[in-house]
Structure formats: structure tokens, C-alpha cells
Amino acid sequence: MKILTCPMNGPRNINEFQSFGPLKANPDPETTSDQDWARHLFRADNTRGVIVEWWRHVPSNYFFLAERNATTNEVIRTFDPSELEAAQ
């Protein structure tokens, strides 16, 4: 089984985790057109390369992000969501 390294709990079998899908941009509902809002809702990053996605470690209910290659399944890194905030 694939190993995913939880930033809080360390390396664990991936079936301890739940995927919450690719990270999405946060468009402003006030200024975004209907067309773009629909795109925001229904489209997700499905590239064959590296995607950034949300994961939940189920036993500890901890949410974090992973950079994973969606073709090779290689996990490049995992990190706490506060790093996103720091980057913004």
C-alpha cells in the first residue's frame, strides 16, 4: 500500500487518509462571472503531472496538503495548510 507522510502523524498507509481533491483557487463570489463560477465548481486540476491536493488523516481529523504526481503516484511533499497562508 502507498505510504503518505502526514505532517502531524508521520508515514502511514494511505488508507488511513481521505482525499479531498485538488486545491482550488478561491475566487471572489462578488466579482466572478457565472461562467467562471461554474468553472470553479466543476473543474478540478487533472493534470498528468504534479497536483496539489487536500488530504485528511482520518483518525486525527487533521487536514493537510500534498504535492503528488498523478501519473507516477510519487508524493513530492506534504505540508500543513498554514504554509499556504504564509505563501499568500
Partner: protein, 413 residues
């Protein structure tokens, strides 16, 4: 013994039919370029050549013929859908399967032994009633049956009376069945190529030249060709392929796994699936038990197999039929499914004028092979979306005209 076997027995040499001609050189130009030599692409080529007189067609296949999801699915054919659009479409799909061996002069072994879907909860039973009412109204053979009838239809099932997974009823779809998946693709390939369609194996599309909203050229690893109309039907690679034409599809890819046991003397006569256990079983004509279930839990473009999915499917199978514990598993495999947000395909027009989509088939594409081929061919021939396909337009995601099939596919492919 059927007479045709005499032909083999009495010929001095093996009488070659030549189903699949060797890949020819690419011509500079085709009326229609079909990207993807799987069941859907080949079916479309067949319908274009036989019913619309369009034979200057190239089918481009990256690998070998029908080596993608056509080869990897578990071959369920059914029309027990929820929406009237879905039912009408798949009902014709079933009918076309009934005629297919004759149409192709190739035995696709459509085995309509019925599909029994099990309900362990009242909520499931309620959804079965909706499928049954919708199906009956559209004229398909489908009914909700009680636990007693479930037992009669599949006498060896563990009913788990009083247990947490008690079977309280089922959905009996007597039209449901399976077909030999490879044969479907080969039959279409043989027919289409006899009418002049060119099938190019090991021919990978690398990109498209686009001018004024039209695809003008298709670039491949074997050269660049010009195309009148282009169709994309590349299964798990649809998102990627469409992106090469600048078209962004609302699709995410997930592996779907299945597995098969050693051959056993036939004992399981219908297709049995359980919504709660995410497991379905069918016994092939070779005697193997094919077992499948839900998709993998996260996005991935890989046909690797996992032990955890195998354990999960084995748990489901031995729960339903406990005596299977000593039966040996022979092989497991996976395909890449292209899932849309409303669990329904995307067919028809694209933002480019001469690019036609046959995508988003997720886990249920095989059953639609003939009907998608038929109406995609009609669409391409008329350069106008066939009415049958209108509900499946990509535009529905911009206009909130989603198809209400969500939850419709659990464990029933």
C-alpha cells in the same frame, strides 16, 4: 456442430479472414480523424462507413487496438439508469448489443442472463424503485423484487437475515448481461476496415493545429495529417487529449480495479451486485468469476493494482457467497476512468467547430459502445449534435443542467 466450423475443418490451410489489416502509411488528409482505437472510436468508424458512406476515416491508436478501457472493463451491459435521458440512451445500447453479432458477423457473445442488484437498506430499495419506475415507463425490463425472489434468482446468496447486511430486496434487470469486450472492438474494426477505414496502431496524437476555431492538422508521432472532422474518444486520457486542443474538460481520472478467479464449473448464472458492499460478481463463459467494485479513492493516472482493493473485493465476494473462500484468484488489473461531476458522459460539440467529444465515460463506457458510436457518427456526418446526445452536452456544467445520475453507478458498472 455449426456449419461454419466445417469450413475450418475441411480447409487445407487455415482460411484467414484478416480482421485487422496491418497499419498502413498515413495519408495527408482524412475526412474524419478518430483519436482513439477503442470500442467507441471503432464503433463510430463502423457507423460512419456503413450508414453515412464516410470511409475516408483514420482511427489513430497510441498503443494496440482496444487496449485501454475496452480491454479492462468488466463488460456489464444494462440500462437500469435513473434519468429518462440516460434510460433512453442505454436502452438503445442494449438493443444494439442484441443485434451486434449479426451486424458485425462476429460473435460478441452477448449473454443476457440478467443483473440482480441487492438492497441491504431501505434507502437503496427506494432508489431501486425509482429506477424500476423510470425503466418500466420507458419500456425496459426491470423490476424491484423482494427477498424471497432474490433467493430464487440467486439461490446461493447469503441473505444475512437479522444481520447488519441483510438483503431486503433487489432490482432485477433481466435485459442486463455481458459481452466479450475484445470481440466488440475487433468486430467493429473488421467491419470498418473492410469498408476502407484505416486503423493506425502505435500512432500517438501529439497535438493539434488550430485556426479560427477549427482543427486544421493533427500531429502524430508518424507525421502530421489534415482532418475535416475530429473526434476524441480516448478513455482515461480524454482530459489530456482535449487539453492538447485547448479544451478543458470537467473530468477527474480515477483507477477502477477488477479481478478474476480460476475457472470453475458454472454455478453463478446472473450478474450479482451489492450497493452497500461495493462489489459485483459475474461468471464468464470460461467459468472465471469476474469481481469488481468501486473506483479507487483518489485521483491517479495509473493502471497499477492495489492489495487493499483486492482485499475489499474479496471481503464483499465472500460475504455474499461465503463458500467462495477457497476459490483462487488468478489476476487483478485496472483501468483509468474519466469521471465527470454528474457521473454522466460528455458527448457532442466542443468549443472547436470540428472537434467532437465522446468523453467522461467513467466506469460505464463499455455498455454505450454501440449507441455512442451510432449517434457520434450521425453527429459527425451531419455536423450537428444528434438529438439523442443533446442532454449530454458539455455546456450543461455551465448552465446547471446536470444529469441526475449521481450515486447511480455504485457497484453496478
Amino acid at each position: 456442430m455449426p456449419l461454419r466450423l466445417l469450413k475450418y475443418g475441411l480447409s487445407k490451410d487455415y482460411p484467414v479472414t484478416g480482421d485487422i489489416p496491418a497499419t498502413p502509411d498515413l495519408k495527408p488528409s482524412y475526412d474524419v480523424v478518430i483519436v482513439g482505437g477503442g470500442g467507441h472510436g471503432l464503433a463510430c468508424a463502423h457507423y460512419l462507413s456503413k450508414y453515412h458512406g464516410i470511409t475516408n476515416v483514420a482511427v489513430l491508436e497510441k498503443g494496440y487496438l482496444a487496449g485501454g478501457n475496452t480491454a479492462r472493463n468488466t463488460t456489464t451491459i444494462r440500462s437500469n439508469y435513473i434519468t429518462k435521458e440516460g434510460i433512453a440512451f442505454y436502452k438503445e445500447g442494449v438493443q444494439l448489443y442484441e443485434e451486434m453479432s449479426e451486424e458485425l458477423d462476429f460473435n460478441v457473445m452477448f449473454s443476457q442472463r440478467g443483473q440482480l442488484t441487492l438492497a441491504h437498506t431501505e434507502a437503496t430499495l427506494r432508489s431501486f424503485h425509482l429506477r424500476a419506475e423510470m425503466g418500466k415507463h420507458a419500456g425496459t425490463n426491470i423490476e424491484v423484487v423482494d427477498a424471497q425472489t432474490v433467493k430464487e434468482l440467486s439461490p446461493h446468496l447469503n441473505m444475512d437475515e437479522g444481520g447488519p447486511l441483510e438483503i431486503i430486496g433487489g432490482l432485477w434487470h433481466s435485459d442486463g448481461g455481458t459481452a466479450r469486450h475484445d470481440a466488440v472492438a475487433w468486430g467493429y474494426a473488421a467491419q470498418a476496415s473492410r469498408r476502407g477505414v484505416e486503423i493506425h496502431q502505435r500512432t500517438e496524437v501529439e497535438g493539434f493545429d488550430i485556426e479560427a476555431g477549427n482543427i486544421t492538422k493533427v500531429r502524430t508521432n508518424r507525421g502530421t495529417i489534415s482532418a475535416g472532422q475530429v473526434m476524441i474518444a480516448v478513455g482515461g486520457m480524454n482530459y489530456d487529449m482535449a487539453l492538447k486542443a485547448g479544451v478543458e474538460l470537467p473530468i477527474r481520472c480515477f483507477p477502477l480495479q477488477a479481478m478474476v478467479t480460476q475457472p470453475l464449473k458454472p454455478w453463478l448464472h446472473t450478474l450479482v451486485s451489492s450497493v452497500s458492499l461495493h462489489t459485483y460478481l459475474v461468471q464468464s463463459s470460461r467459468g472465471e468469476i469476474v469481481i469488481g467494485g468501486g473506483s479507487d479513492p483518489y485521483q491517479l493516472y495509473s493502471t497499477r493494482s492495489t492489495l487493499d482493493m483486492k482485499e475489499h473485493l474479496a471481503e464483499g465476494a465472500t460475504h455474499l457467497f461465503p463458500f467462495l473462500h477457497g476459490v483462487r484468484l488468478l489476476r487483478q488489473w485496472a483501468g483509468i476512468t474519466d469521471m465527470t461531476p454528474d457521473y454522466s458522459p460528455i458527448m457532442g460539440a466542443s468549443p472547436l467547430k470540428n472537434l467532437w467529444l465522446d468523453c467522461g465515460w467513467g466506469t460505464w463506457g463499455f455498455k454505450a459502445t454501440p449507441v455512442a458510436g451510432k449517434y457520434m457518427a450521425q453527429t459527425i456526418a451531419n455536423q450537428k449534435v444528434a438529438p439523442m446526445l443533446e442532454p449530454f452536452t458539455m455546456e450543461r456544467f455551465a448552465t446547471f443542467d446536470l444529469l441526475n445520475e449521481m450515486g447511480a453507478t455504485a457497484a453496478s458498472h
